[in-house]
């Protein structure tokens, strides 16, 4: 029988290790091996949040002790992170289906190669003092690694943990929040070790990080497995899950999912939650010092930012785990209602000089920001089934990219407008807080409008023509 020579068959012949079939777990493989596999990838790509530690040293590559003529400016370097975030959204949307159909190992391997080569190309860019190489390396190639790596373990985890999908994805996405906590001190330490009288140490640090991250991510790719057909955890009764109103045991094809109103309602809900959180997260240091002059110093503000990182990470696990008990829709209702109340409270806390109340508000807001990310894959799984949830999740992440622009713009530009119109700095954020609160009202309405997906969108046959997928629903099987 003739074999069609497609890129897929070549890849199978050359790198059989990456085949989806090779990753199907043998009976007895522990599902508790999968969260650390996912963490190995997410902890590495989570470094993106800590990239700013390189900004200042990279403005002194020529001058070493201080910026010299010809050295890069902070505004030029700021584009590296922006490009990476842009390509995160683009690649997760474009490669989502490829990731879903090719299996987690191939996606993790690709992410590891892109992430490591992104650092190596950036190191070359530093060595040659060529900024576009860093845009290409960390921004474009690294950004693709972010997108592919972020979605790679999501659907696999939910197939292994059908009884606790929120907790499972929460564990992985917690890693993305935690990656910066490791990368920031590690990068500073490495730069201090490699620093000499003529070198700020960025080149060698990039080389080491690229190699270390590659090994970590490959370990994740090595131990990841997909469950065998019809596997289910002990004591798990799917009927109990399908009895919930929103939860389906059917599957929706990725490009049909984007035609449903539910997809766009979830998109708006995620956009609102992320816009609110990202604005606060990025400006917390400056905002806290300006709202409480004399009470919160620059050092204390740095402590607040650290505490917020911990709550961002912890919220990803705890809120997503809670959603397994109270349901995804209710969890987002909590985000929207609590978020509204907290944003209304922040101006009051500032006006009354109540630092403790202010800090508590920010910590809960940022925990819900993280929780929004980790709860959404399980929300999509409830609505659209597990078959294409990774690909659908990839497209949904465009809400993150959009919020990445909207959040900081709302905070910065409205503050700037207020300050130039004579509003005291301590009160310059109040309008933004009220706008954020009103965004939560929109999010609340959208969340309330989410109903079960119309059965006309359910897959009646496997559109890819592939068989043997453990996630195929009863409706697929009976077709």
């Amino acid at each position: 029988m003739a074999v069609a020579h497609t890129p897929e068959t070549y890849a199978k012949a050359w790198i059989p290790f990456l085949d989806r079939e090779r990753t199907i777990a043998k009976p007895g493989y522990s599902r508790w091996m999968i969260p650390p596999a996912a963490l190995c990838v997410h902890l590495c790509i989570g470094q993106a949040y800590a990239f700013s530690v390189f900004n200042l040293p990279m403005t002194k590559l020529l001058g070493v002790t201080q910026s010299a003529p010809g050295d890069w400016k902070l505004t030029e370097l700021g584009w590296i992170f922006s490009i990476a975030m842009l390509f995160l959204g683009l690649s997760s949307a474009v490669f989502g289906r490829w990731v879903e159909e090719g299996g987690p190992r191939r996606a993790m391997f690709t992410a590891a190669c892109c992430w490591a080569s992104g650092f190596l190309i950036s190191a070359l860019g530093v060595h040659l003092h060529t900024l576009w190489l860093i845009y290409l390396g960390y921004g474009v190639i690294g950004g693709c690694a972010l997108g592919i790596g972020y979605i790679s373990p999501v659907s696999t985890l939910m197939k292994w943990f059908p009884d606790r999908p929120g907790m499972a994805t929460g564990m992985a996405i917690m890693g993305f929040g935690g990656g910066a906590l490791i990368a920031s001190p590690l990068s500073v330490w490495l730069m201090s070790k490699f620093q000499t009288a003529t070198d700020v140490g960025v080149f060698n640090t990039f080389l080491v990080l690229g190699c270390v991250y590659f090994c970590f991510m490959m370990f994740g790719a090595y131990i990841v497995r997909v469950p065998a057909d019809n596997w289910k955890p002990k004591g798990y009764v799917p009927a109990a899950v399908s009895s919930k109103k929103l939860v389906t045991t059917n599957n929706v094809f990725v490009y049909d999912a984007v035609k449903t109103p539910q997809f766009w309602l979830v998109w708006v809900v995620l956009f609102v939650n992320t816009t609110a959180g990202i604005g606060v997260l990025g400006q917390a240091s400056a905002m806290s010092q300006e709202m409480f002059p004399g009470h919160i110093t620059a050092i204390a503000a740095a402590g607040l930012v650290g505490l917020m990182s911990l709550f961002n990470m912890g919220g990803r696990f705890s809120w997503a785990s809670l959603s397994d008990y109270i349901g995804r829709k209710n969890t987002y209702f909590v985000y929207m209602c609590l978020g509204f109340a907290l944003y209304i409270t922040v101006p009051y806390a500032g006006g009354s000089g109540n630092v403790v109340l202010f800090v508590c508000c920010f910590l809960i807001i940022v925990s819900m920001y993280g929780g929004g990310f980790s709860t959404v894959p399980a929300y999509l799984r409830d609505l659209f089934g597990t078959r294409y949830v990774g690909a659908i999740h990839g497209i949904l992440l465009t809400a993150w990219s959009a919020a990445g622009i909207a959040g900081p713009v709302l905070i910065n530009y409205i503050r700037e407008y207020n300050v130039t119109h004579g509003v005291p700095k301590a009160q310059a954020y109040n309008t933004t807080m009220y706008i954020m609160a009103s965004l939560f009202v929109i999010g609340f309405i959208c969340n309330a409008c989410i109903k079960a997906v119309n059965s006309k969108y359910h897959m009646t046959s496997d559109k890819t023509g592939k068989v043997g997928d453990s996630a195929l629903s009863p409706s697929t099987a009976k077709a």
Partner: protein, 41 residues
């Protein structure tokens, strides 16, 4: 199919996998908590 997971994947493998992912994370969390304490000083 029944889940017989812990009978065949050795416990040390699970521990090793969690250690590889967990130890760097714990170190990062500890370092961040030390820095965060500055808020209360």
């Amino acid at each position: 199919m029944e889940d017989v997971e812990h009978s065949t994947t050795p416990a040390y493998m699970i521990l090793l996998a969690w250690s590889i992912a967990g130890i760097p994370l714990l170190a990062g969390v500890t370092q961040t908590m030390i820095n965060a304490m500055k808020l209360f000083q």
